[in-house]
């Protein structure tokens, strides 16, 4: 069985039974499940037939919010806010007494999410781990204005990695506000691996990273 969360940039895959993919995409194995992260550009040109899927594909079988809600069960408190921050959108869901309580989905704004950060790192020839938390943050209502601030900052002599860290701090603040300022966030998605982002978010609330496979896990139980 193949379960696919097709992201804009990367696709997360969990396989069970004898299904498997190229070892270079292998992340981990747990119980009878194997976990892979594969560039979505490869997925699009392959003949993968997932049993269930969600994300940015025309024939996805499951709604991403539903997958998020199902995928985090068992790993969160009875009262919890789970934020999934992806390449081009952000979504959160809140449980109260283990029941769905509230949600929102910033459905299509790519300006201030993972794809923008990836582009910045490539543009300035930096690696994610080069970024360190910076207490200063750019106020970014829009990624385009955020990019402008980075460029202004660098032109004034600031190092690119420091400016991008301020930008990421701004994203973290916006994400916290978007999720209605909870005391604690369970974080899902690629930003779990971004220490600069997690540290920035921790300025506002406690953070529990759940990793990149939450939505994919949410596809399995049906």
């Amino acid at each position: 069985m193949i379960y696919l969360d097709a992201g804009t940039t990367y696709s997360k895959i969990i396989t069970t039974r004898n299904d498997s993919f190229d070892k270079k995409y292998f992340i981990k194995e747990f119980e009878d499940k194997k976990y892979y992260i594969i560039p979505s550009s490869i997925i699009k040109t392959s003949n993968i037939c997932p049993s269930r899927s969600c994300g940015h594909m025309s024939n996805a079988t499951e709604n991403e919010i539903i997958a998020l809600a199902k995928g985090c069960k068992g790993t969160i408190d009875t009262n919890a806010t789970i934020l999934d921050l992806g390449s081009r959108d952000a979504k959160w869901i809140r449980f109260k007494d283990s029941k769905f309580h509230d949600m929102d989905w910033n459905t299509s704004c790519a300006s201030s999410t993972g794809a923008t950060v990836e582009m910045l790192l490539k543009f300035y020839n930096l690696k994610r781990d080069d970024l360190e938390f910076n207490p200063e943050k750019f106020t970014i209502t829009c990624g385009i204005f955020g990019l402008e601030k980075i460029m202004d900052d660098i032109s004034k002599g600031e190092e690119a990695k420091t400016s991008i860290a301020k930008f990421i701090h701004g994203i973290a603040y916006n994400a916290w506000v978007f999720a209605k300022k909870p005391l604690k966030i369970y974080l899902s998605g690629g930003f779990c691996d971004n220490k600069c982002f997690v540290h920035s978010l921790e300025e506002y609330c406690s953070v529990v990273p759940l990793g990149r496979f939450v939505l994919c896990e949410g596809l399995i139980d049906e």
């Binding site: 709604n63 539903i66 949600m103 989905w105 459905t107």
Partner: protein
């Protein structure tokens, strides 16, 4: 000879409707609020309520001989301004303010077992000739939809028939389009989607009520996209 049209928007004072019916007995009435695919005259700013844009663009596309133009609290300030603009462009606008809250007609359609889209059509397509006095079978609500008739009726297809209508559309069925108390009424026990057109002042009410009743606030500019559909679908499935 081309068919002559009477344009209207919102819920004109019934006395004005009757007066114009007597003046133009053979004219067909057309609701200018509705998205009829008229070309954009670019008179209004790009970022503006799509319903008001429809009014302006439909007027130019259809050239009604007369327009019944609500401008009071039963519509909105934008209706007031639109009436003025259309008058400046030479349209024969007759304004109305219909703000009474009594008498109220009983609510039968908003709470009926009709599909949600049919509920809207039944209410909105009978403003001029009166809502038929039929005892529609009632249904216990599973969900609520609060708001004005959306520009894009596709959104209504996402809801089951067991969805009750609240907000301004319910006020229209009651015959009291400016009844703020009724407009703000919802069943607190029912998961409700609070819908408003983007750039409409009713977004203020929709957001407030969604927060108050733990509903889902949605504003849409013109047409719904897959993401909005997915968000509503998630809300309906998880609640």
């Amino acid at each position: 000879m081309n068919e002559q049209l009477i344009g209207f928007w919102g819920y004109p004072d019934p006395s004005l409707i009757n007066k114009i019916k007597n003046q133009y007995p053979n004219c067909r009435w057309v609701d200018l609020d509705v998205d009829l695919g008229a070309p954009d005259k670019e008179i209004l700013p790009k970022a503006y309520c799509k319903i008001i844009k429809n009014i302006i663009n439909n007027a130019f596309a259809l050239s009604p001989v007369k327009i019944a133009a609500p401008i009071g609290k039963d519509k909105c300030d934008s209706g007031w301004f639109a009436a003025r603009l259309l008058s400046e462009f030479g349209f024969d606008c007759e304004t109305s303010i219909y703000e009474q809250t009594l008498p109220k007609r009983p609510i039968k359609i908003c709470t009926s077992n009709l599909p949600l889209i049919d509920k809207f059509n039944t209410i909105m397509n009978n403003i001029i000739d009166g809502i038929p006095d039929i005892n529609y079978p009632q249904i216990k609500p599973q969900f609520g939809f609060w708001g004005v008739p959306p520009n894009d009726y596709e959104i209504l297809k996402l809801f089951p028939a067991a969805t009750h209508i609240y907000g301004w559309t319910r006020c229209v069925e009651a015959g009291t389009p400016a009844d703020l108390e009724l407009e703000m009424y919802v069943d607190a026990s029912i998961p409700t989607v609070f819908y408003a057109q983007a750039f409409c002042s009713k977004t203020q009410l929709a957001k407030y009520l969604a927060d108050k009743y733990n509903g889902l606030y949605i504003d849409v500019d013109d047409y719904i996209n897959n993401s909005i559909k997915a968000k509503i679908e998630a809300f309906l499935r998880l609640r």
